[in-house]
């Protein structure tokens, strides 16, 4: 193991910022927004794994385990909501889902 810690942190930072840009750019498609959230969770998990390895503490990897559990449940429910929304409104455009606003 000769890779410095900072390489992992920089990689996770770049991944996180790409997903932030994805949230801004893709304003029309809910599914891509969900995928950007998955990318963010992946970046955070990479940080957890790297720090767990470099500090010698298993708690970080256990946390990654729990984050993956919650993310799987979250994406399942989110996709069910998307399917329901498409069935009722025939669209998954974020700009058209504003009936709670008025």
């Amino acid at each position: 193991m000769s890779i410095p810690l900072s390489w992992y942190i920089v990689f996770a930072t770049v991944l996180f910022c790409i997903s932030i840009a994805g949230l801004f750019i893709n304003r029309k498609n809910v599914i891509v927004l969900l995928m950007c959230i998955e990318l963010m969770l992946l970046a955070v998990n990479t940080n957890f794994v790297a720090f767990s390895r470099f500090l010698g503490n298993p708690s970080g990897q256990v946390f990654v385990f729990f984050i993956m559990t919650v993310a799987a449940a979250e994406s399942a429910i989110g996709l069910a909501v998307v399917v329901l929304m498409f069935r009722n409104r025939r669209t998954i455009n974020v700009d058209e889902i504003d009936s709670l606003r008025y």
């Binding site: 410095p4 991944l15 790409i18 997903s19 995928m35 794994v49 993956m68 069910a80």
Partner: protein
């Protein structure tokens, strides 16, 4: 020494693939291609975790994400009939905002990480025996209650997804087992008391067409 250089080359290669695939996720036109690029991102990141000696989590990432969650995404994307043209119309409009926010965040976070962190090296492998033993000991001693709660969360997610996506069809004829088993004899058969009536004698019909 050549071993460590090989590890660094592997890290750079996987990181470049992962970042390129992540860029493809947020920028390609077709959503199916975005899902496939996300699969590539997850796979490359799993290789990076493998390099960090987190073998169990790397394999769990491949099995759980690539095997289950991404297939679910692909399933939903292909099931929904989305026309691609209106999806793209705000792309150019929001592109400068998105890139600006991302670059500002990147510069700030890299500033926080700093230059000094670039030389931190890992100690000897803390796992000692194996990664899975290290992780499992922590998971089943200190984190046993959160482990059980995680199982509960998965069950709740399963039930919630089924309840949300279930569509009750009104035109289908279904059996209701509860009412079927709750039925009693008076609900099915009605005994009617009637006075007996003596039938009048009926004359047999004479067949006359045999002449």
């Amino acid at each position: 020494m050549s071993h460590s250089i090989f590890q660094m080359v592997c890290f750079i290669a996987f990181a470049v693939v992962a970042v390129g695939a992540a860029l493809a996720v947020v920028s390609v036109k077709n959503t199916v291609h975005a899902v496939l690029a996300l699969v590539l991102t997850f796979f490359s990141t799993a290789c990076l975790w493998m390099l960090a000696e987190a073998e169990f989590l790397a394999l769990a990432l491949v099995v759980v994400y690539v095997g289950a969650v991404m297939v679910l995404f692909l399933f939903v994307v292909m099931m929904l009939d989305i026309d691609l043209e209106p999806i793209r119309e705000g792309f150019i409009k929001y592109l400068p905002v998105g890139i600006g926010a991302a670059v500002i965040m990147l510069v700030e976070m890299l500033g926080i990480i700093g230059v000094k962190a670039f030389n931190v090296q890992a100690g000897p492998d803390p796992a000692g025996t194996s990664n899975i033993e290290w992780l499992g000991t922590a998971l089943f001693t200190h984190f046993l209650l959160p482990f059980e709660i995680a199982a509960l969360i998965l069950t709740v997610g399963l039930v919630a997804a089924v309840v949300l996506a279930l569509r009750v069809r009104t035109f289908s004829k279904r059996q209701n087992p509860a009412t079927q088993s709750a039925v009693r004899a008076p609900g099915r058969v009605r005994m009617v008391k009637m006075a007996t009536v003596k039938a009048a004698a009926v004359e047999p019909i004479r067949q006359e067409s045999q002449s």
